[in-house]
Amino acid sequence: MTILYIVGGLLLAASAIADKKKTLKALKIALKKFLNIAPTFVMMLVLVSIVLYLVPQETVVKHLGGPKNALSSIGIAGILGSIAMFPGFIAFPLCGILRDSGVPWSVIAAFSTSLMLVGIVTFPVEKQYLGAKTALIRNIISFFIAIIISFVIAILYGEIF
């Protein structure tokens, strides 16, 4: 997180030196985007704060993690991600919360990647553009991409092997 502020600060300084007007515009865009998404954020936090009380962390971690069921966890997370549909602005903070509750990195990767890549809910739209068969193959390939990514994450973070 410190890196984030260092990078942000450096970029902001560079931008301000190069063009004050543009920088001001960038800050306005930042504020506007933040205010636009803020209500959705608050509602997500309300929901998550209740759900995580009702479903204790141990239960979440038991089903979505732990070294014993790494394989099934990745599978479940991949399927959940394929079905669910919410914007990354909500998804990644949620992943952060899950991560802090002890859900493994590989499971987070399977969920977030399939969430972005595979769209069961958006399939009717995709079909309109690509035709059913192409859309279907694209989604199946995407699901496997998500699984492969999460395995690499699992290996590099020392969660399996």
């Binding site: 997180m1 942000g8 608050v42 936090l45 309300v46 903070p93 990767a109 972005m116 193959i137 991409i145």
Partner: protein
């Protein structure tokens, strides 16, 4: 309407938490504690993330990238199409119409599929968010693994579709 409903729900939630505090109602206190701790974590990250996103929108021009897409060379086309994908705002609902435009402008099938997949993985504002909440290492690994997979799978998909009758169904509806 939805706004009002959200406001009402949030109001009820706040009242519930406050009453729980006064009555020492344990579940309510726990839920309130969850909310505060999650909100604080987010407020620490969000300002920096949104400032970087704002700077990105101001400084990167999409037109430059689109101009380069006519490139005949595959590697160059991939480079620019992935760059274009990373600047896509608004998710798949924007990505499909853009892909349709690419198709009608004569881009290669594999390149178009790469655009669709890449726009789901490499969108810069999302990437900033991802790195903010899950760490730069996580994001970089995900990108490094996804890149070759996207190129390979797009080539395969392009190859399959080019030979099949389904090619005629691609972006067939001119109205969307």
């Amino acid at each position: 309407m939805k706004k009002k409903l959200n406001l009402l729900l949030f109001g009820l939630y706040t009242v519930f938490i406050i009453i729980s505090l006064f009555l020492s109602f344990q579940p309510g206190k726990e839920i309130g504690k969850n909310f505060i701790s999650f909100a604080l974590t987010m407020l620490k990250v969000l300002p920096a993330a949104f400032i970087i996103i704002g700077l990105f929108e101001v400084w990167i021009k999409k037109e430059t990238i689109e101009k380069h897409l006519g490139n005949k060379s595959s590697i160059k086309a991939y480079f620019w199409v992935i760059l274009l994908a990373s600047t896509t705002v608004g998710g798949m609902y924007v990505a499909f119409p853009v892909a349709a435009v690419l198709y009608r402008k004569g881009a290669r099938l594999a390149v178009i599929f790469a655009y669709l997949t890449a726009s789901a993985v490499f969108r810069i504002p999302m990437a900033i968010f991802e790195a903010s909440f899950l760490g730069l290492k996580f994001t970089l690994i995900r990108f490094a693994v996804a890149l070759p997979l996207i190129v390979i799978s797009s080539e395969i998909l392009g190859y399959i579709i080019k030979k099949s009758a389904d090619k005629n169904k691609l972006f067939a509806d001119e109205s969307i």
